[in-house]
Structures are given as C-alpha cells and as structure tokens.
Symmetry: C2
Subunit: 378 residues, 2 copies
C-alpha cells in the first residue's frame, strides 16, 4: 500500500483478503465501518458463507471530542499494535489476536470480538462476570510484572521504554485527569446541578496537593509498560472470557495507574446503582458483587504479582527481605490514589461514563455523581 490515507471499505476488504488463514479465498465479504469517527476508523469485515470475520482498526491523524479537533500522532497505532502483540505473549488469551500491522497506514488487523460485549455496557445491562477478577488480575500481574525492572532484564527495559515514549497520548491524561478537573478549564463539562461541587474541587488545597503528587508519579515513575487507559470501555467480556483492547495510551508509568483505572470504573458503576438497580435489595446485591470484585481484583493481583516475583524475580536485590511488602503497599497506595483521580475526572472533566451520564432523572444522577466524587476524593 502507498503512504498514509484513510482506507475505504473496499481497501479494507482487499487487505483482509490478503491475511492468510482467516477468510476463505472464495465467498463474498462484507465490510462496515463501525468506529465513532473521533479517533479511529474501525472496519468490521465478515464472510457470511464461512462465518469468518476480522477487525481493521486505523488511526486518524486527529482527535475529535465535543466539536474540538486537534492533531494526534499516528505513531499511536504502532504503539497499540506492538503493545497488543506483547500483551498476547505475556498474557495469552486476554487480548485480541493481531493478524497484521502496517505502521505506515497506522493500521492493526485483529481478531473480531463481536461475540463479546464492552464491559461498561454489559454492567449497565445488569451483566455479571464471575471470572473477570481472575482474568483482569492475571492480565495486570503478567503484563506489568514482566515489563518492570522486577521481571525483565533492566537494560532491555530501557530500550522497551524508549520505543513506548508516547507524548501525545500522555498529554491527554496529564491534562484531563491531573489538571483540568481542579481548575476552571474550558474542557470541563458537568451538569449545572454540580456547579457547587465543582467549585469545592477547585478550592480543596489538600486534594490539590495529592493530585499534584499523583501527577508527578504519572510523569516520572517508569515502573512498567502500562495499558494506560484500562477502563471498562477498553475491556470486552463474556461470562467466560475477558479481552483487553485499545492500548494506544501505553507508556512506561506507575503500575497503580492501570489497577486504579479498573477499580475506579467498577466504583463509578457502583455509584450508578442509584439508578440501575430496580429496588433496594437488588441494589444491595449488585453493590456487594461490585465491591467483592474490587476486593478480589486487588487481592488476586497482589497474590499473582508476588508469585511471579518469587518465581521470576530478575535479580538478587529484589529478594531483599522486606522489600516486596514495602513495594506492594506502595502499589496499593498508588492504586487508591489513581482510582480516586479517575473517578473525579469522570464526573466534572471532559470525558464521562455512560453508567452515570445515562441516568435520566437529574436528582438520581446527582446522587450518583456526588457519591462518585465522595469516593474519589476520599
């Protein structure tokens, strides 16, 4: 193919036909662009006669959010495909298979996961995922441990970090999570009934100091190669299966940032039960499921990360008595902090979550929003 241009559906089909072992040589193929058009084109290519299908994801050279448009590096597509391939090696079965990547076209061709649902929507629809804590703790323990100085050669880690410098997408996080929610930024967006709550956030000095410290960690703490955007909208699930997608924000950062993202989004969903549960009893049951999942994710992560450390620790110094406990405690502290920052920004910042925003009654929505802010700031 020639240098970068947005693909047509016909071009997507031609590329899909060129992938060995997926589509049959004969048999019609259909293609539908199913992306939201804000950041990427997403082509769903199917062959009805065989049932085979695949996804082509192509990055666009800009981001469009609430009418704004700004340039965004196409290198994020290279980062996404390389990270997906690495995740597939470190945590087999927990990410879509990558069939092909073309860095010039900013294109990744991968497994079609339409048998799964996006976890955020699945939760909103009342779904429960009994294996999720097991799967996501597995994904995080393996991808984070084996890309950290604890679990890989420390010189190779420096070279890996070099190839995952990701300034454009880190900038989005630095601004939208660690800055704008605490000041009067144009990008902020919240319901009018939250004006006083947002104002309190802007004058809470103790909170500002904690957020500044979290932001420093995000900027400087090259602990492991993160997914970087691990919310429930980046996770496909069924009751039996979990697949993590969209690692375009991947970079070397603090481990707690990934864990915190998962927990924050479960807790936002917890807060949204003001609406989604039909009555008090079902709300209680649903919340118990969610808090158990939060607890299990940390507990399982902690256990698995320590087990990997004990079995595959990269060197002598990391076996120093007391060091592992000290490290895991700091991870838990970081996790709590990042989870809090991620909850706050989803209420008053630019990007919200459907769990909360789709609550129709403004009073019920306000209660869910305030509960989210209370958990997040605490």
């Amino acid at each position: 193919m020639s240098p970068y241009h947005p693909l047509t559906e016909q071009e997507a089909i031609d590329i899909a036909r060129g992938i060995p072992g997926v589509l049959a040589a004969d048999g019609d193929v259909t293609c539908r662009e199913i992306g939201d058009g804000n950041l990427n084109l997403v082509f769903h290519v199917r062959q009805p006669s065989t049932g085979a299908s695949l996804i082509l994801k192509q990055a666009l050279p800009y981001a469009k959010v609430v009418g704004e448009s700004w340039p965004l590096s196409l290198d994020r597509a290279r980062i996404e495909s390389e990270k997906l391939i690495l995740e597939g090696k470190l945590a087999p079965g927990l990410v879509p298979k990558v069939y092909h990547a073309d860095h010039e076209l900013a294109l990744t061709v991968m497994e079609d996961l339409s048998s799964h649902v996006i976890m955020r929507q699945g939760l909103i629809d009342g779904g429960a995922y009994p294996l999720f804590a097991e799967h996501i703790s597995d994904f995080m323990a393996k991808t984070l441990f084996f890309t950290s100085d604890l679990g890989m050669n420390q010189q190779e880690k420096k070279l890996l970090a070099r190839s995952f410098a990701n300034p454009d997408l880190c900038k989005i996080t630095e601004d939208l999570i660690f800055d704008h929610p605490y000041t009067d930024a144009d990008t902020n967006s919240f319901d009018p009934h939250l004006a006083e709550d947002a104002k309190r956030l802007r004058s809470d000095g103790a909170l500002h100091l904690e957020v500044a410290l979290l932001r420093e960690k995000f900027l400087t703490r090259a602990q492991a190669l993160l997914h970087g955007d691990l919310h429930t909208g980046s996770i496909f699930v069924t009751e039996q299966s979990t697949k993590v997608i969209d690692p375009e924000f991947s970079y070397y950062g603090p481990i707690g940032f990934d864990i915190g993202a998962v927990l924050a989004n479960l807790l936002l969903h917890y807060a949204s039960q003001e609406h989604w549960s039909a009555d008090a009893a079902s709300r209680e049951a649903r919340r118990s499921y969610l808090t158990s999942t939060v607890r299990d994710i940390w507990t399982l992560f902690d256990r698995k990360f320590r087990a990997l450390w004990n079995e595959h620790g990269a060197d002598r110094v990391f076996r120093t008595a007391g060091y592992q406990d000290d490290y895991m405690l700091r991870l838990l502290q970081d996790t709590a902090g990042f989870a809090g920052a991620k909850m706050v920004r989803r209420i008053v910042g630019l990007a919200h979550v459907a769990d909360i925003d789709k609550i129709p009654d403004p009073n019920v929505r306000a209660a869910a929003q305030r509960l989210s802010l209370a958990i997040g700031t605490a």
Copy 2:
C-alpha cells in the same frame, strides 16, 4: 572520515586543524594521547606558536578495569557530546566548549582545560575552592530543573529522555553502586583489614532494604537528565572557575543522585583528613571547610532550584500550595541516601578514590575507610 576506528595522533591533528577558529593555519601543532586507555582515547593538541590548544576525546568500544575487559556501546560518545552541548546552553561557562562532535567516530572535540586541575587531586593537594559551592549548585539547579517536568515542556521531555536511554552505562551503576558492595561479588575490592567491615555490610538487612529502595529510584525515577557520574574526578577547578566534564553516564534519573555524588566525594575527602592534614588544628580547619561546602551546596541548590521553579515553572499544577516544600524535602532525602550509597561503594566496591587509597599508613587508611563507611551507612 571513514567509519569507526581508534584515531592516530596524526589523524587527531588533522581533525583539530579542520576546526574553524581555534588553531592558526600556519604554525606547528603537537599531539599527545593523555587518556588512561581504559575507556577513551584523549588527545591533547597544542600549537606552541599561538598557545592554542584543544582536546579530542574518543570513546573506545570496551571498558578495561582491573584487567577485565567488556564491550561498551560507542553511543555513549553521542550521549556525552549532546549532554555537554545541552549543559553549555543551560549552565553557560560551567562545562568545556564543544567545538565538534562526530558520532560515527565516537568523538568529541572540546575546549582544553589544562589551566584547571581535577578537583579530587586539587583537594588532595590542599586546594580550597571558595566559588565551588556557588558554581556546582548553579550547574545542578539549572541542568536539573530545566530538564525536569517542572522546567520544560513535558512532551519534549519524553522525547529527550528517549534519546538519553543509556543502558550500558546505567548497568555499571546498578551493579557497582547498588548491588555488589552488599554481596560477595568478584568485582569487590577492599583492603584485608576491612574484611569484617565488608562482612557486616553483607548481613545488614536494614541497610539492604534502603539500598534496594535507592536502586528502585535509580531504575524508575525519570525526574531530570542527570550528569550521572558527578564525583570530584569529573570536575575541573581553579579558585575562580568550575568546569564539569565526562557526562557519558547521563540519563533520566532521580535528581538526588547527582547532588549525592558531589556531597559523597566531599565527605570521602573529609574522611581522608585522617591523613592529609598535618595536625589536629589544620584537620579541624580543613574539615570545617568541607562540611561548610557540603552545607552550602545543598542550601544554595535548594534556593536556586526553588527560584527557577518560581520563575520558570512549566505549569499551573506545580504551583500547588505545599508541593514545592514536599518535593524539596524528598530531594534532600534522596540526596542523603544516594550520597551514602556512593560512599560505601568507594570503600568496598570496585572503584575507589585516591583521597583514601593513597593514604600510605594502613592504620590511618583503615580509620578513614571506617569513617567513610560510618557516614555512608548512617
């Protein structure tokens, strides 16, 4: 020039003659290789008729230490010349001028500083450098602040960090400072009379935990672009002038590592006064000079770094109330920790310092060594 090969003296002269504005077109030129041959060739090119002179430093593709030889990336010459040029911009007058760099030849052509002495030797010879604290605090405050997220665009910082990934030379530090002194490593080297002291270091669990935490910081804390080897052997001085050389260990790391290196080497020299001072009174005076210098370096660094922060802070979040005090306190803690680790390794690890090793009387030397270990471990 053709691809890499070690230069001859004649080739060094030819290159020197090609640098505009240093040597006169006519007039004989002499060349002498003055390196120690372990890591680099260093050619001193002079033109007696004009008094002009310059230095050509060429990296060798290996390191030789105590008879061992191991391969070492020539990329360190690129890192050294790029860092010298950047330091020259950020802290004018405090590094040698770079006239020319050739990355293929792993060569930097720079200002001749033979009017200066290496500070370690200057101190051993009884020299005092009244402007040193002012100069070195200036060098550190400017080079560290303006390469940190506090003082430069945070996206450009990520790209700068990418070009200063320096795995080979970081490996030397990771092993020789943060690992080997605390275990029975072949590289360790110490006087037989220190056998018991070294053994105690190998079984001090509380110390091992602190060293593991410092090593984690060295591995993961991308705060600023460090010099990376800022001991008194990397600093040329006169009473009026300070020039920092040899930044081949440069990489993005914890700021306290650079400050700690300076302080550790002043304190090693303090400990060596067991020998170098003629009597108790002069020893007292000398030690007072050294501790005042240690205090002044931190105090001036703290004042200057804060002033740069207040005037040139890169963004809003870094002006959060209480954040600067918190940050500077952590820098002081890091500085103390790294200084300690650097003192210990100079006594029992691979690379020692002449201040201590050149004390002829083994009993006096032992006292200086034990004082260094006591300060370092404390």
